[in-house]
Amino acid sequence: MASNNRNNSPSEDLLAATTRLSKAVTSTASALINTSDSSNVLLKTPHYQKAIYDTLIGPHRNQQPRTVAVKFRKKKAPSEFLRLNFSKDEISYRAITHIPDDLLNEIPEGSNLENKDKFTLFQGFNASIPQVNEELNLFKELNLENLKFSTKDDSQKLLTLDTNDEKSKIIIEKKLNNPLPIDISSKKIKQSKSVKNLNIYKQKILKKMHYLEIRKNLTSNEISEIDAKIQKLTSMRDALFQKVAKFEKDEIYLEGFIHEISDKVEALDKGEVAVDDEAEDSSDELIDTNTNLSTKNPGKKSISFNKDTIVHDSDNDPEKKTSEEAPQAYQSLSEEYDLIEDAEADEYFLSQSIYTSLQKKPPKYHKISSKNRKIKPTLQNYYNSGAEISSFPAHEQGITCFDFDYPFGTMVSASLDSTVRVWDLSTQKCLTLLEGHEMYVRCMQMDNNLLVTGSEDSNLKLWDLSRVENKEYEDDDGVLGKSGEEDENDSDPCVYTFESHIDEITALHFDENNLLSGSSDRTIRQWDMKTGHCLQTLDVLWVTNNAQVTSPIDTGMSYQGSSTQNNSNVPFIGTLQCYSAALASGTADGIVRLWDLRSGEVIRTLTGHTGPITCLQFDEKSLITGSEDKSIKVWDLRMGKIEQNLVYDSGIASLQFDSKKIVFTNNQSYVSVYDRESGEVNKLVPKDVAFTSTSIFARYKEGYLVGGYSNGVVKTWAV
């Protein structure tokens, strides 16, 4: 078809001919584009299809007045019609070389080409050619000129040959690296006595310098152009990053509603809410929430819902309710508890009396489950690994501990200044203060909206952060004024206080409904978070003494030794973690004890540390401990042996690990990330070089790491 058109076109009316030609070309082009020939992938992209269209037909067909004369003059010379052929090569060539009109006019303002200070590429070309000729002469000198250069292959051979022949390669490189013109050497200049020759040398060198100046200038121009591009790209990236951040924030905000709704539906299905008038109201509201999210305020309802359930539950026998709800593991636990009851009757009655006199209600909270969370924060992935994301002064005095729910989510921090603050990590704004503890908080754990804090005042408090967050959102909407007038008790984030310990709380851990706390009164207590009851008390000292009598293992450190260290602000129970019925504790005597919570006995002790243990974590395979003795030890849980011993310059303050890395702080200005595969330590150094405070505590989740410093600053990094 194409060839027909080509032959006929001159003999027909020109306008008709061009139109037909255009059609022919488009159909040829589309035929080409539609073939499944993989070599022509380029032609399949819409961009090039358009380019072809523009080239061959013209982008603005209908906009220009189409007289024959204009078309004739503006578009193509007749000879071009004659020499048009519609081979694939020709069409792809046309597509590639075509520059659309908008691009053609998009020429940045700048100095004119006639400007003498700026060189053109053509001048650069001319300045490069002498160098090319020098290289060629070199090859020829090295007797390589016998090769024929008529085809490309041969020419390439010429240039690959020198890599095989080491000797000639060295000569070529040596000569090429010498900036002197090829026929001049420093020797020649020194020895020459002829003024004429020397003048020639001078001229040649000046010329070469001129060429170099041109090339230097052009190359530096390229650098500045690339800089401009990078700047543009950076700002583009920033804009996109902001978009991602916004989307993510919105997603998380909306997801909060989904959880709220599904949790309520679940609760209603279980029939937990008594069907009295009040509850009816709340379920009516729930339906409203389902159908009309935008007008209703879910935070308020969450609170009213809780109130309903609180009222309802307090009518029932709390003990009975627990046994109904508690999973099987805890049923066995409560049986255990009955046994222990006798042994610790006195203490139990004491706590019971306190419990009944001060707290009539068991803790009630609205737990948001993390299992059905669909949104994954991804923002931290767009930072370079190890880049500092943010840094903000969180407290006036040193951070003692903190925890956060997800990257750029909510963080709760505690400090020596005795305040507990809730932060929005994405904006680094303090949302609220958690008030209740009389002294500073030493340890805490956060699980979605649930937070447990352990304080110097020997109490533990359970907080429901969803109440705080709701407050914040209302604040955003400007509704705070109204909700603030409501009953204070409903919006109090502190839902329960665990008080039985008689000395400061130094470590705590909870999973599901099982809370364990370690105190300087040398006991570990196990609590039921549903009821607020203390299930059992483990006396570490008693067990230790017993173990030292019965166990053949020499602990290497007497209790007296640890007692002296205890005075120097090193807690006796430095750390603990539980998993179902297993509990691991690390104490100031350098011993890791593994407990069976069902029997309340130590089933294994791990010895090896020579200083107080400050932090530990375990998973199904291994247990990792950090100690004041400046070492991190990786224990094989099955063998009970030290798998790895990592020694550093200073005492380990905190650690966290997963299968790939161990993140730890060791009283330096940086936070260390140990790669468990390569064994390399990557230090996350503060951006500000003058920052000298020491890192106390670090936690990370999903590539997002937060570090707390002794001067109250919190920093976040991407890892």
Binding site: S11, A77, P78, L121, F122, L136, R215
Partner: protein, 156 residues
């Protein structure tokens, strides 16, 4: 290379018809290849211009392709690239493209004598060809009319 070129900031048309040796071209090519993805604009241009100077149509086309790339990649170099593209396409016989480029350049630099000269030259070339074209068409129409007339006459 003649010495006068280093004074000129833009090539004359004659420069485009002064081919490099195959070896020179190959070295320019190797330069681009050795720089890989990081090929500098200057290296690319050197090779492209070397190709445009060639006598072989395929090489000239490749040269124009690379030049187009440079034009798209490097906004700061667009003005001069228009000039080189105009020459390259002129040499290939794509006069309408050549004219587009030359016009765009003159629009941006109305005082650039070399650009104006180039544009005029391309326009001359096109109008010259147009005359030939009109001649051909006039001729064909005349012949067609004669044939038609003779056919009609024969029918009568």
């Amino acid at each position: 290379m003649t010495k006068k070129d280093s004074v000129n900031y833009l090539p004359a048309l004659a420069d485009a018809y002064d081919p490099l040796s195959a070896e020179q071209l190959e070295i320019l090519n190797q330069q681009v290849i050795s720089e890989g993805e990081m090929a500098s604009v200057q290296s690319k241009f050197n090779y492209a211009w070397g190709l445009i100077k060639s006598d072989l149509k395929e090489e000239q086309k490749l040269g124009v392709k690379i030049l187009t790339e440079v034009f798209k990649d490097s906004p700061q170099r667009r003005r001069e690239c228009l000039y080189y593209l105009a020459i390259g396409t002129y040499k290939l016989g794509d006069y309408s493209d050549s004219r587009r480029y030359a016009e765009a350049l003159v629009n941006h630099e109305p005082d650039n004598a070399q650009a104006i000269a180039l544009k005029r030259m391309v326009e001359d070339r096109i109008s010259k060809e147009s005359l030939i074209g009109v001649g051909i068409i006039a001729g064909t129409v005349a012949i067609g009319a004669t044939v038609l007339a003779s056919l009609l006459r024969r029918r009568r």
